[in-house]
Symmetry: C2
């Protein structure tokens, strides 16, 4: 009798990955769970590796170190998914804008005009990020079969706000003003970012990512005409380009802070599943997001910090609200560094019973 072909064995294994089952439309109880920024500073074992990696960008592009921190939370907690350790600002780095991190202050990017930013070419950017693909391969080799591997990138608008502001900013004022006053140049920058990002996500899928996630961390504060132009159109461009390359991996979109725009985003970008932030009214989301679309989210990281009865009650509220729907348990934003690791254990106990 012939051996089971490799492709079939892979497919059989993947069929047992709970996150993939839910993203294919199944309802699981308990739902699969993972946490944004689960590889991060709240873990002492992460801080130990970080201490050996003074340059954050170099850390992200060091497959050995990045794979190690990606695997740490899987070993400790047995999450249903692993998300590759990387950063949304690798794309501007790969396109030629200098990016660095000021200790305790966050990212800084070289000051360039919008015109100059729009001249940065998407060509070859994904190739320069091949170390992230090497990380994905190493992580896959170290993961349990049932654990889904997620690749990700920042969405063009969110990445563009950092490129234009030169740092994180309270209200993305320069970026928003530029979007209104020079739409042609802004749209060129966003299209270039979409193309580089699509290539990067395609490469991650080829390297073993089962699922792709697009982080639109700054979807808040955008009037409808701007939301359509700077969020929906570039995201759709990415999804179309990824699909045109033959990649069938589910794509999770996360338009953080989009409020009622969430519905248009879910309907018009071509994404497979939608991640919800903790500020989005749950009852409204249940009633208004497409009923067959898998939903991920939306525990407040602050209640994970608080723990105790409040955490238990919020977990119960979310499980009840999404019962009977394809649902992935997660936070509504990344874990903060001061969350006690034992609270994450308590969270998993509440979910898995």
């Amino acid at each position: 009798m012939a051996e089971t072909p490799e492709v079939l064995r892979r497919t059989m294994k993947m069929a047992k990955r709970p996150l993939l089952q839910v993203l294919a439309g199944e309802t699981l109880s308990p739902p699969p769970v993972w946490l944004m920024r689960q590889a991060g500073r709240y873990l002492p074992e992460y801080r130990a590796v970080r201490a050996t990696q003074p340059d954050f960008i170099a850390f992200c592009l060091n497959p050995e170190a990045a794979a190690e921190v990606t695997l740490q939370p899987i070993r400790r907690y047995g999450f249903d998914a692993s998300i590759v350790f990387a950063d949304i600002l690798l794309i501007p780095h790969a396109m030629g804008q200098k990016v660095w991190f000021e200790k305790g202050e966050g990212p800084r990017l070289a000051s360039l005009s919008l015109q100059d930013l729009a001249k940065l070419s998407p060509e070859g950017a994904a190739d320069r990020l091949s170390p992230v693909c090497e990380t994905l391969k190493r992580v896959r080799a170290g993961l349990p079969d049932a654990c889904t591997l997620i690749g990700f990138a920042g969405a063009p608008w969110t990445v563009a706000t950092y490129m234009i502001e030169g740092a994180g900013s309270k209200d993305r004022w320069k970026a928003r003003s530029a979007a209104w006053s020079d739409p042609a140049t802004m749209d060129r920058l966003l299209a270039n970012l979409a193309d580089a990002t699509a290539d990067y996500l395609i490469a991650q899928a080829h390297a073993g990512a089962d699922v792709l996630k697009i982080f639109e961390s700054w979807a808040e504060g955008l009037p409808a005409p701007l939301f359509d132009r700077v969020v929906i159109a570039p995201t759709r461009r990415i999804v179309e380009r990824v699909r045109a390359a033959g990649i069938t991996a589910p794509i999770i979109g996360f338009p953080k802070g989009a409020g009622p725009h969430y519905v248009h985003y879910a309907q018009e970008t071509g994404i497979t599943a939608i991640a919800t932030d903790h500020g989005l009214d749950t009852g409204w989301a249940v009633a208004n997001l497409p009923a067959s679309m898998p939903v991920q989210g939306q525990l407040d990281p602050a209640v994970l910090k608080a723990g105790g009865k409040a955490l238990e009650s919020e977990v119960r509220r979310l499980l009840d609200a999404w019962a009977g729907r394809p649902y992935v348990f997660n936070l509504g934003h990344g874990i903060n560094p001061d969350v006690p690791p034992e609270n994450v254990g308590a969270l998993l106990a509440h979910i898995r019973g």
Copy 2:
């Protein structure tokens, strides 16, 4: 024949105030218009007064200087409403927490524990802010009859976030964590703030404010159970206390960033009118906010900075969307200091034709 009694003369004059007409449910075309932070740094005449007032809190409590900057934009543009120049952090100042402003960095507040903050008494806080009432009287005397005078305060949750964080913060992390982990103490602080704020608004109404506005600048990022507890309940407490004092002035609520929670806020707080932020989907707001409730907003301040065709198009979009409804034209957030004053003139020309 007897003279017209003073009270009747006042009522007749007030009936001609377009903002009051709209807040009473009338539809006006063109709608009345004013701008959040219209007395501010984008105006050279404001910067000239500010230069003589090194201490920002003292500036807010100097009736002569505060009345002057309040009147400046009325003289320059003829807005339909004037909002008293003050700051939402006058309440913690009046309750005994030290507040100061670091140049170029924003507000700073003395570090106090949540327990100590919850012990600050609301008693007498409004009395200590009597200079703001003096400002209102001076402004009223300098305003055209048709111009509505607005008094305001910060909402308890928003003010509490500054009191707890000691400054503005990106995600109100400490405040949100405290709201989950120590609800009893947090609710006591919010109730005290609500009482001090209600007393302060009552005093402003007695001093001549025709309309009262409650700024919930940080309504974003709150899960439903927290939104109900920290936003809706304290706001309702203010509204009830103001009404119990016999004040009939319309009250505008502004839960910035609340997304779909806007509907509950509109229905459950007792406010008269609702102000919308620029990130709230306009089509959704038209379809879902109570049809008879006056709505204010929601031009993106960034398009006011951009000016030109984009500004014209956005003004038209908002006028069309709210046609046939009681509507007040305004921004979705305060004016930024780098908005060219001539763009504000262009805005008024677009609205008033």
